[in-house]
Amino acid sequence: MNEFDVIVIGGGITGAGTARDCALRGLKVLLVERFDMSTGATGRNHGLLHSGARYAVTDRESAAECIAENKILRKIAPHCIDPTGGLFLTLPDDDLNYQGTFVEACKGAGIDAEIIDPREALAMEPSANREMIGAVKVPDASVDPFRLCASNLLDAKLHGATILLYTEVTGFIMEGSRVLGVKTLNHKTGEEGSYYAKITVNAAGIWGMSVMEKAGITVGMFPSKGALLIFAHRVNRMVLNRCRKPANADILVPGGTVSIIGTTSTRVPLEECNNPQVTPDEVNLLIGEGVKLSPTLAETRILRAFAGVRPLVSSDNDPSGRSISRGAVCLDHASRDGMEGLVTITGGKLTTYRLMAEMATDMVCRKLGMHVRCQTAWTPLPGAEGHSFKETADTIWRTPANKPEEPDIYGDALVCECENISVGELEAAIKHLGAGSLVDLRRRTRMGMGTCQGELCGCRAARILAREGLGDKALSDLRSFMAERWKGIYPIAWGDALREAEYTQWVYKHVLGI
């Protein structure tokens, strides 16, 4: 019951991808995540499927990895990817000579970069700054990290993996210089547990540093906070970048019904990683730079501000973190630290998660003396067959154990009008995807992520949770859902955002009495 071939710590994209790869290679897998899936950097990033162009000049190796993975993910996860394409704009402030260096470097890394006429670029992307003096087209795209992570976890499950959410690894079970398994605490029930495996993989992102300390191992990491702003409309069709050395606030990514400007890079203390805050200065910087890429942003309403922490592995003492390689790091703690049965996979990017999972799984197999080929470069993720949101959601959510039920004629009613989420989709997420709270539902369905920021759909969904037997805590859950939303709103609450906020205050406190 409690014995596995491999235990994966962390339910972000790296852990999810690793669990899937291990399961596909026939290993008996346990994944433990202390909160919900995608609660770390995976749920707090820019959603850019890098073409690699951003790193072509400064980090050729990362660039080459990105383009290879970019091509693979388009095939295995089309339901998570919006193939928008991307543009690198040279603005009057930028040096046009950089464009040549940039295109050369892209070609060298295998990235299809094409210089186009600024007028043509404007026709492709009417929201771009018309004062641009140069434009290069690259195969950037937009990716839905929540859906990608959920698809990986689901496929792991379909291949026999056990997934424990809200279960934190509190320590290791060790015998001499060998890790035999992990000790856990279930945050929902308060139960403690012990699980055993031949190999344990640390995929706990930035928190991996503290997790490893429990085994007496030091992994030097660099918590690099990035702040982002979400705009209320999808302003741009294509990803917009600045054609210059990577800097702050120079990427605008369209995603779903919104656009996101980012990002910054500031080293933060480890304590801040659980609750990274956006400062007014960061807000000002993001708007100031964003408007240069797309002047219409000046008139576009901002929905919310948020920040995530990149799990970068430190090499030197660069205070900004931008010169640290964004490449993946896979450590065998047996050869590195003399600790058997323990592997760390970290660093890297969302875009390269599959490759990272392959690296980690290769190492696990090697240590187990197995020779099984990795199949993830061509095996589609569940959901990849369907393309409409509904179809995709259904395929993702319905596991063989839960045969499709009778269609529900009331299931089409919309709960979230901004993001078009129906009752049926929420019910499916509750039944088949382990959603037990509003925040869980948001992560699985995008509910509450649109213009209204959850003011009405939050209540409707609370009621659906109550109906599914999760009623005792539906109200307190609704309160924490709204509290969490407000954290991202108040840094940018002026203009229409403040109007909406005032409305929400009245409706919640006086009309609904919540």
Binding site: A413, E417, S422, R467, A474, G495, E502, W506, H510, G513
Partner: protein, 378 residues
């Protein structure tokens, strides 16, 4: 065009002031951009226990208000609150003790803006067991075809035509021991006859109406009835137009300009600004300032934006207390200079609870009456 008084904003405050002035034979006009906070109204006037002057004024408009000292009301999320002055179809419940022996909570298939499960939990704690029932009517089937049509106002449009049938359907759901029926407020867009007919039709059962997610049927009804009353009294209601600026010389407003009237100006002896708070655009905020956009009236606000908010959503939010500065007669000022024939009333004063006017809809009514009475006393 010349009026005795021009009122900017046709929400609760503007209409109350307008009706008061018309009842005294003054010639007034209300210019209003659009929807007001009444469209989202709970039906209860916060901070107002009673106000005979308003109760009579509303009664003459066909809007019945009531309150009972020491009683409670039930909110849609399942909370009980102390009752305040409320519309007739906000049910007043005894201050303590179970609200009934057993309740039937009624809703509709595919309707997600009313929360029987949350209410059931709250009633249970309060000592009233309940059952839930769904009313099925073919009249509602057409609404359900579209995933966004099952909303309170649309349901009211349908049910207002067939209240008897609805009563019949509720009776079919009754079970042994039920003495109380809880219904969503989805009745009576044009008047309170329908909710009253339903209460009577279900008697001797006790009927309790509970609010829904916005839009609010009782709120929209109140807006419509007040407007009808105002127009029947001869008031000029200009809807869908916005006042964009005013001509002010030496502390006196001579005229205002509107968006649609182009170069044509509206003249009056007195003006009342009832343009609401941020939500209705009576106040405007940018990253660095909070302003009153029509006249540029003085507004007091902290320069440091982080002081406008409380990080905890459920704490009172400082920005909601921010409003146009006014003296005891509700005269605002521009650059420190008082404007003597302009009055401000309603949510534009900010939602902070002040001793004289209270907060919320209570403040809107009291300040609007105060401004109108001041004009009448001149």
């Amino acid at each position: 065009m010349r009026f005795d008084t021009i009122i900017i904003g046709g929400g609760l405050a503007g209409l109350t002031a307008g009706i008061r002035l018309q009842e005294e034979g003054r010639r007034t006009a209300i210019v209003s951009s659009g929807q007001s906070a009444l469209h989202f109204f709970s039906g209860s006037f916060e901070s107002l226990k009673d106000c005979p002057e308003a109760e009579e004024l509303f009664d003459r408009a066909g809007v019945r208000l009531h309150n009972l000292p020491g009683s409670r009301r039930l909110l849609p999320g399942g909370a009980f609150r102390e009752a305040v002055l409320s519309l007739g179809d906000v049910s007043l419940l005894p201050g303590e003790g179970p609200i009934g022996k057993k309740a039937l909570i009624v809703s509709f298939n595919g309707y997600h803006d009313f929360f029987p499960e949350l209410l059931a939990g709250a009633l249970e704690k309060d000592g009233t067991p309940s059952i839930q029932g769904i009313v099925e009517m073919e009249e509602l089937a057409a609404l359900r075809k579209s995933p966004t049509e099952m909303r309170s106002v649309n349901i009211a449009r349908v049910l207002d035509k067939c209240p008897d049938k609805f009563v019949q359907k509720v009776k079919e759901l009754l079970a042994d021991g039920v003495d109380t029926v809880i219904l969503p407020q989805v009745f009576g867009l044009d008047g309170d006859e329908v909710p009253r007919a339903i209460s009577e039709g279900l008697a001797p059962l006790k009927v309790i109406f509970v609010g829904t997610l916005p839009p609010s049927v009782p709120g929209i009804r109140t807006q419509n009835m007040l407007r009808r009353r105002y127009e029947r009294l001869g008031g000029t209601f200009i809807i869908g137009d916005s006042v964009v600026s005013g001509a002010v010389h030496e502390g006196i407003v001579s005229s205002v300009a509107s968006h649609n009237l182009d170069t044509y100006r509206l003249f009056a002896d007195n003006f009342i600004l009832c343009s609401g708070s941020f939500f209705s655009k009576g106040l405007h905020s940018s990253p660095t300032a909070i302003e009153e956009p029509v006249f540029g009236l003085d507004v007091e606000f902290p320069e440091d934006r982080s002081l406008w908010y409380e990080a905890d959503f459920f704490e009172p939010q400082p920005y909601m207390g921010i409003g146009v500065k006014a003296d005891k007669d509700l005269h605002p000022s521009i650059g420190g200079e008082k404007v003597t024939n302009l009055y401000v009333a309603g949510a534009i004063l900010g939602a902070s609870k002040d001793g004289k006017y209270g907060t919320g809809a209570g403040k809107a009514i009291k300040s609007a009456l105060a401004a109108a009475n001041k004009i009448l006393s001149l």
